[in-house]
């Protein structure tokens, strides 16, 4: 067994995600190299076998996504990591994980898009895609990281949510977070709060693999542990068998949606910074939230009552956290390294409460504190 990495380390965001995964109990990683996510693979190629886990580099991202689903079904927590082009490719199998309720974590270290785009530049262009990238209505959770220690803790959180709700969780990182090095205190294993999937506690004959508990979440058996069952991407009944019965189809969809809806309090995470008395606020996520924090500070220095709501959970959209900000502020600035993706959500939930102002940057450059404080001052 490897020595416990309970110590302060200087890590890149990507490395911290690898460590977070290991800390969360992830023991299977399948990936395909891509800038700027490759370090996650490289770290785990090195570390996984030391933890008794498995690393495999597959022939492409489609295969990586398939493999982590397989591993998760065999009872092992699993992850893959990619960037835009690979994220496009995994979508079909990601949808399978949503439909068959297979816990797994997918990291997308965003780079400039569309297409091959700007492989080495930061961007936040895949936000709506993380929600809508695969076909059909499906539940999903999307989290964003902004610091290296976020990378560590949010990855653990991602695994926990994934296991708890039997839903794939997407972590959106970006090139800046990915390659920034900061110090992280890696906790001892016993200090890490871990949620594992619920195993069936009925005899195998009684086991219904898709019968929800009170919260709509089915207990999950692993292949090989005596609960022989069927997994499919077709719409299925409680037994996991394909159905074309409208009532059963409806149940299927409703449970998938409701398990997430019921979990809102646990799933929705944001951070508030100086919002108590704010008249203008920034709503930001990812590395932009860091610039935003500085901008708030600088605006305050100029006498402007500014604040920041940092979104950690992007989807389900944390409406209940955002609405109060919209209600209490005169104006809200939504800076993003894209053409305006989360701002659409903010606009959707904004019932004419306040002015929602977009600030977008798509030239491959980071959004600086200066440009934000300038805008804040003019709001």
């Amino acid at each position: 067994m490897p020595e416990t990495p309970s110590k302060r380390q200087l890590l890149q965001g990507n490395e911290a995600i690898a460590h977070g995964a290991l800390a969360a109990g992830c023991r299977f990683f399948a990936g395909y190299p891509i800038t700027p996510a490759s370090e996650i693979s490289e770290q785990l190629a090195t570390l996984m076998p030391r933890f008794g886990g498995t690393f495999i580099q597959m022939e492409d991202e489609i295969a990586s996504m398939g493999a982590i689903i397989g591993a998760s079904l065999a009872g092992v927590k699993a992850m893959t990591a990619t960037s835009g082009p690979g994220f496009s490719l995994i979508q079909e199998n990601l949808g399978y994980a949503c439909a068959a309720e297979v816990p797994c974590v997918v990291v997308n270290v965003m780079r400039g898009g569309p297409s091959t785009g700007l492989p080495t530049s930061p961007a936040q262009g895949d936000v709506q895609m993380a929600r809508w990238g695969t076909h059909g209505d499906h539940p999903i959770i999307v989290l964003a990281v902004s610091t290296v220690s976020d990378c560590f803790t949010t990855t653990i959180k991602a695994f926990n949510l994934s296991e708890q709700f039997r839903v794939p969780v997407i972590i959106l990182s970006d090139e800046i977070v990915a390659h920034t090095r900061e110090c992280v205190e890696l906790p001892a294993p016993e200090e890490v709060y871990i949620i594992n999937r619920i195993r069936p506690n009925v005899p195998p004959e009684w086991y219904k693999p898709y019968e929800g508990d009170s919260r709509g979440i089915p207990a999950m058996a692993s292949f090989g542990d005596g609960y022989r069952h069927h997994i499919t991407g077709l719409v299925h009944d409680d037994h996991g068998f394909p159905t074309e019965n409208p009532g059963e189809i409806l149940n299927f969809h409703q449970r998938l949606t409701q398990k997430i809806t019921r979990g809102f309090p646990e799933i929705m995470m944001t951070r508030s910074y100086r919002l108590e008395d704010a008249e203008v606020a920034i709503i930001a996520y990812g590395s932009v939230a860091r610039s935003a924090m500085r901008a708030v500070e600088e605006a305050r220095q100029q006498g402007i009552r500014a604040g920041l709501l940092q979104l950690i959970t992007l989807f389900p959209f944390p409406r209940s956290h955002v609405t109060p900000v919209l209600k209490h502020c005169r104006a809200v600035l939504v800076p993003e390294m894209n053409m305006g993706q989360i701002s659409r959500e903010v606009q959707r939930v904004n019932q004419s409460f306040c002015a929602v102002v977009k600030h977008n940057r798509v030239d491959g450059q980071v959004i600086t504190p200066d440009e934000l404080s300038t805008r804040l001052i003019k709001l």
Binding site: L10, T120, I176, H179, R181, E182, R294, E297, P369
Partner: protein, 197 residues
């Protein structure tokens, strides 16, 4: 937990790809962050790997958590060649210090400058041009005044390939010694002032 810019100290290591500047910055950051337990952020400009070109790496040090991770106004710029020196010296804050490799930089854009022939030292005294970055690292360590020598050494030993410890250590020491000779307070303030830039 109010923060202001004053608590930040920003360094950029610059030169050409292959000079090992990212390694130097990482070791510096590790010394400051892991061994000195300060807040630190290390970033770099990231290009298609292994194919040369300009290279830069930054370290931001602070006594409070660091929000914006990139350097905005450099307190110290290390320029290991002329191109980097020319491209970046304007990012120095008034009073910021320019440190150049005297072997490769010929024209100095400011007079608040420390010029040490890192490459020559590495090549001629240590026998390996490759370790010029470690010589520079030692110098930057001392000149920044933001890291303990012992921490730098520990960080270096943890990061360099097995078998090269001694050489690298020597290089670091050489840089420190060289920098120790510099009397920072005798240097003029930058010739350019804030609003000129």
């Amino acid at each position: 937990m109010k923060k202001n810019q004053a608590s930040r100290y920003e360094i950029r290591f610059s030169g050409s790809g292959g000079q090992g500047l990212i390694t130097a910055a990482v070791i510096f950051a590790e010394a400051v962050g892991v061994y000195d337990c300060q807040f630190v952020c290390q970033t770099q400009s990231y290009g298609p790997e292994a194919r040369g070109g300009r290279s830069k790496a930054e370290v931001v040090i602070s006594d409070a958590p660091i929000d914006y991770p990139k350097a905005r106004r450099l307190d110290l710029l290390l320029a290991m060649n002329q191109a980097a020196c020319d491209a970046y010296f304007r990012d120095l804050s008034p009073g910021g210090l320019l440190v150049v490799d005297a072997t490769l930089v010929e024209q100095y854009p400011t007079s608040r400058i420390v010029a040490i022939p890192f490459t020559t030292i590495a090549k001629e005294e240590l026998g390996r041009e490759m370790v010029a970055n470690m010589v520079a690292l030692g110098a930057v360590g001392v000149l920044s005044g933001h890291v303990h020598a012992a921490s730098l050494e520990k960080a270096l030993l943890a990061r360099v390939p097995i078998g090269t410890e001694e050489l690298n250590q020597k290089a670091l020491q050489r840089g420190m010694t060289e920098a120790a000779k510099v009397q920072l307070d005798t240097l003029p303030r930058s010739i350019f002032n804030d609003d000129e830039v």
